[in-house]
């Protein structure tokens, strides 16, 4: 299975151009972030200009990957080996990161112009840059040390961004998030210490060769799993997620829900795949938690009166879909066909959710900004006055509901098919229940918005870039449903 993560030998050496592209991929976001802090752009155009080279690096890496297949880098720095690899999953997630990051960046100037948050706003840019760089590094890293450094960098940047709104509620939520994330990373570190002490390997590929199942692998997996689950807001450890989003800025929420929690989940999946190649109970346990997450997240979102809480709780439920796929991907005795289906479904769901959730946060942010109210009741009459924002919300929620022809549907289809083939009926029921629960809370929003009896009040006009960016994201999530083979073709592992 480790070949799926690109942890195999590469056929070709990367060209010298590729080295530079890699360096640019990792360094440019930070560089431009610092520039952003210096100049604090108020218009969309300069931001767009800056995004172009970053996106270009991603495209160049993609072309390189398609030509040469898996690429590996290894450096010795002061006796420590740092290794990176560019496999199918890596390039796919790298592209998603860059595009969603660019979308959030393009959304930001309009948002800042309308909200006038004050001086601390300029810090958003470098933090965003660090976040994108750290995320890119996570997708590429192939040893535990680099992963750890990138994970922590990402976590701190994420905390910093969430705090920027400066409201007491945001600070409270941010403090809780910070403490939990830090302790989570210590748990991860202890797990890594165990691995390093027992097998003496930090490199993932070498580790995959020497690991044998046993208590050490279990304890290491448990420690790493607990730490990362805390960071990824997996079900019973999701308590910090909703308050954090409640008061954060819209582009920050979008980035966080779309990418940050996914990165921890990615590491978790990859490391468990190495440590627990044939464990029966751990993935099952995660899957059970995932089913609970689907139901619980759906119920909380259904009961919530605040739009942001609704969107944030839906993340908990949507992560549940990914957790349910764990036994199919890393469990033993799964025939190759359902395994491949689940693998594709997992990534399609992850990408679809990233795009749709970012779009949804932006649409929700637009609605809240325009109406000046954050409760669902405040949405009354918006279907007439703010049709575009609501349409974006609708497109995004079609993906979340998993209704056709969105990417959420295709992903759910693949997962369902894998589950039916392996006779996991409880998971099937959970997935279908999830659809209905999602529909229940999403259409609650629409029911309020279609209310025509609401009193008219003033609506703040929005910057066109805000709606357009969100629309593009929502449409991308939508279109990936029928064009699913494009991203999934990249997932065929590291081999050419």
């Amino acid at each position: 299975m480790t070949w799926r993560f690109g942890l195999t030998e590469a056929t070709f050496e990367p060209l010298w151009l590729t080295h530079w592209v890699l360096a640019a991929t990792l360094a440019l976001p930070i560089l431009f972030g610092l520039l952003g802090a210096l100049f604090s752009p108020r218009r969309t155009l300069p931001v767009a200009l800056v995004c172009v080279p970053i996106l270009l690096t991603g495209v160049l890496l993609l072309m390189e990957y398609q030509q040469a297949g898996l690429l590996r880098w290894q450096w010795q720095v002061a006796g420590v080996t740092v290794s990176l690899r560019l496999g199918g999953v890596s390039i796919l997630m790298l592209l998603v990161t860059q595009w969603v990051g660019a979308a959030a960046a393009l959304y930001t100037p309009g948002h800042l112009r309308l909200t006038n948050p004050g001086k601390q706003a300029r810090w958003l840019w470098p933090l965003m840059g660090v976040l994108i760089s750290a995320l890119s590094l996570i997708w590429l890293a192939a040893d535990l040390l680099t992963l750890y450094a990138a994970l922590e960098l990402m976590g701190l940047a994420a905390v910093g961004m969430l705090l920027l709104s400066g409201k007491p509620a945001a600070l409270q939520a941010g403090m809780r998030y910070l403490l939990l994330a830090l302790v989570g990373s210590l748990a991860y570190l202890l797990g890594v210490a165990l691995i390093l002490g027992y097998w003496g390997q930090l490199n993932l590929q070498a580790l995959a060769e020497v690991v044998e199942p046993g208590p050490v692998a279990w304890i290491a997996a448990a420690l790493i799993g607990a730490g990362l689950a805390l960071k990824a807001a997996l079900f019973p450890l999701h308590g910090w997620l909703t308050p954090v989003h409640e008061s954060a800025w819209t582009p920050v929420s979008a980035l966080h829900a779309a990418l940050v929690v996914k990165a921890s989940l990615f590491i978790l999946l990859m490391l468990w795949n190495i440590l627990l190649p044939s464990s029966l109970f751990a993935p099952r346990f995660v899957a059970w938690l995932g089913m609970l997450a689907i139901v619980w997240g759906g119920l909380v979102a259904w009961r919530s009166d605040s739009l942001k809480t609704l969107v944030a709780s839906s993340t908990v439920a949507q992560l549940g879909y990914l957790m349910v796929a764990f036994p199919l991907i890393i469990g033993p005795d799964i025939p190759p066909l359902p395994k491949a289906l689940a693998w594709e479904g997992f990534w399609l769901q992850l990408i679809g959710h990233a795009l749709a959730k970012a779009a949804m946060f932006m649409a929700a942010g637009n609605l809240i900004l325009a109406t000046g109210e954050s409760s669902l009741k405040g949405l009354a009459g918006t279907s007439r006055r703010l049709p575009l924002s609501l349409l974006i919300f609708g497109l995004a929620s079609v993906t979340l509901m998993g209704l056709p022809p969105s990417s959420g549907f295709t992903a759910k289809w693949l997962l369902l098919q894998a589950m039916v083939m392996t006779q996991q009926w409880v998971a099937v029921v959970a997935l279908l229940m999830g659809t209905l629960l999602t529909a229940a809370y999403v259409f609650r929003v629409f029911r309020y918005s279609f209310d025509e009896t609401a009193p008219r009040h003033h609506y703040q006009p929005l910057a066109p870039s805000m709606d357009l960016v969100a629309l593009a994201l929502a449409l991308a999530a939508f279109a990936l449903g029928l064009l699913a083979h494009l991203p999934l073709a990249l997932l065929q592992g590291g081999g050419v």
Partner: protein, 501 residues
């Protein structure tokens, strides 16, 4: 020669129309009307082209791969083109009607945008070449009709929308489960495949039955079969053109059409009979027919009565499908078209009465024939057709269904047909009687609930002519049933294709 562009272009016309309408500002009424009509007319032309191609023996197919083992397929086969023809013809009528109906109302952009999407989904359902594609458009239909149902934005409309979603989304989920299970069992199975699912019969009999129950159960929600019909009468709060569309073409017919696809093109009629599911389906359809008629008699308002009539009438299609034999099949297919024509007429007329005179209840209709003669004639034609009197199209349906039942040795079905016709007469004839033979406000007794003079004629021309047109087509389909390309002719062609491959 495969003209892959043809089904795709047909589908794209309405989707493009929807997109363009969403992009236009709310105020540009004329341009929107023009786009609506142009799209509707060009779609009729495209469907006519497809009819020509199919009658020459081509099956134009457009397909591409979504992921490994799952294809998106649009195929213009005889059955699909039949349904596509119905929807494109009635779309034009309903669009014209809706333009007149919503004159001066709010949120017209949203209405027409989703209206076009709804028709696009219906067309997609018609042309879907496998179950996966069918499912895509089936769910799209659910989503695109929701804004139409809650269009008024009142508490009642919103509550109706909630009920509608509860039923249809649950049905959709069940359908999804059935589809996934079928794909896991057999892989991608095209509707055009000759084999049917017969090779799986020996090993997976129970599973096949279960999948059939799931699929048909999911579809029966939209086809409004008892006890899954609860959403339909409530959805009557929608504007009249939406009700017409929901009842005559889009939603209920999508369910009925889906059941046809499952039995004829997926399982194959022999296999369905072998599994014994057709008898169960026939019983369920009969119960629905009788129950719907009985409930219709109890209604005092016009639109709910028509709604329960729809519940009853759509199950004729299901009943015909579940009769083994060519005549039952022809009856089912032709009823799909005829019921659409007649029911849309009735809803147009009901809308006209409500708009022009403010009539909602049946006891307010006394003497309306004098005030609105053309509308009332159209209504009478529709009502007589529903009862099944010659020469209106409804007669042909019941005739073929009766013969089909006798051929299939299911004599109790004949009893159901006779009983249901009697019940139909019981709830339609009093209305007709009130229209023509009672003295009412037009004769100087009392007043209309809310009279408006909408046009030079008895009502606004945009409202009147679609109703008159569909009524004329209903008669024409009955009188000229023997001509080529009539509904009956086409249904016979499909049935022959089914039984004599």
């Amino acid at each position: 020669m495969n003209a892959a562009w043809l089904p795709l272009a047909t589908l794209a016309t309405s989707i493009l129309a929807a997109v363009v309408i969403f992009l236009l500002p709310e105020e540009s009424r004329r341009l929107r009307t023009g786009i609506n009509l142009a799209a509707a007319v060009s779609k009729i032309i495209l469907v006519a082209l497809m009819v020509g191609r199919v009658s020459q023996g081509y099956q134009d197919t457009f397909s591409f791969q979504i992921v490994g083992g799952i294809d998106f397929v649009l195929r213009a086969d005889a059955l699909g083109v039949m349904f596509a023809g119905l929807s494109s013809l009635l779309w034009l009528c309903t669009t014209i009607y809706a333009i007149g109906y919503l004159e001066g109302a709010a949120n017209r952009k949203r209405f027409f945008g989703f209206f076009s999407l709804c028709v696009a989904s219906t067309l997609g359902i018609a042309l879907a070449g496998n179950l996966f594609t069918f499912l895509i458009f089936y769910e799209m239909l659910t989503l695109s009709t929701y804004p139409l149902v809650v269009h008024a934005g009142t508490a009642k409309a919103l509550a109706a929308g909630r009920v509608y979603l509860r039923y249809t989304l649950t049905g959709g989920v069940v359908l999804l489960l059935g589809t996934v299970m079928l794909y896991s069992l057999t892989g991608d199975h095209s509707f055009a495949s000759e084999r049917g699912l017969a090779p799986y019969l020996n090993d997976h009999r129970g599973l096949l039955t279960l999948i059939f129950v799931l699929l048909v159960g999911g579809l029966a929600v939209k086809a409004a079969m008892v006890p899954l019909h609860g959403w339909l009468p409530r959805a009557m709060v929608a504007p009249a053109p939406v009700s017409a569309l929901l009842h005559a073409v889009a939603v209920v017919k999508a369910g009925a059409f889906g059941i046809m696809r499952i039995i004829y093109d997926l399982y194959g009629i022999e296999l369905s009979v072998e599994l014994g599911v057709t008898t169960a389906l026939a019983i369920a359809a009969s119960i629905t027919i009788i129950y719907g008629s009985l409930r219709a008699i109890a209604q005092h308002e016009l639109k709910p009565r028509l709604a329960f009539s729809t519940i009853s009438q759509v199950s004729y299609v299901v009943l015909g499908v579940s009769l083994f034999g060519p005549f039952g099949t022809i009856g089912a297919l032709v009823h799909l078209l005829h019921q659409g024509l007649m029911k849309v007429t009735l809803f147009f007329c009901a809308g006209n009465y409500a708009e022009e005179l403010g009539i909602h209840r049946i006891d307010e209709m006394d003497g309306a024939g004098k005030r609105m003669p053309l509308t009332s004639i159209a209504f009478t034609v529709g009502a007589l057709g529903m009862i099944g009197l010659p020469p209106v199209a409804g007669f042909i349906t019941k005739w073929y269904l009766g013969i089909g039942a006798i051929q299939a040795d299911m004599y109790w079905v004949v009893v159901v047909l006779v009983a249901s016709s009697t019940l139909n007469a019981l709830y339609f004839l009093p209305i007709v009687h009130r229209l023509w033979f009672r003295q009412g406000p037009a004769h100087g007794f009392g007043e209309w609930p809310k009279e408006q003079r909408l046009g030079r004629l008895e009502t606004h021309g945009w409202l009147l002519w679609p109703a008159v047109f569909t009524a004329m087509v209903s008669i024409g389909a009955g009188l000229l049933a023997g001509l080529p390309f009539s509904p009956l002719d086409w249904a016979t062609r499909v049935a022959i294709g089914e039984y004599l491959p």
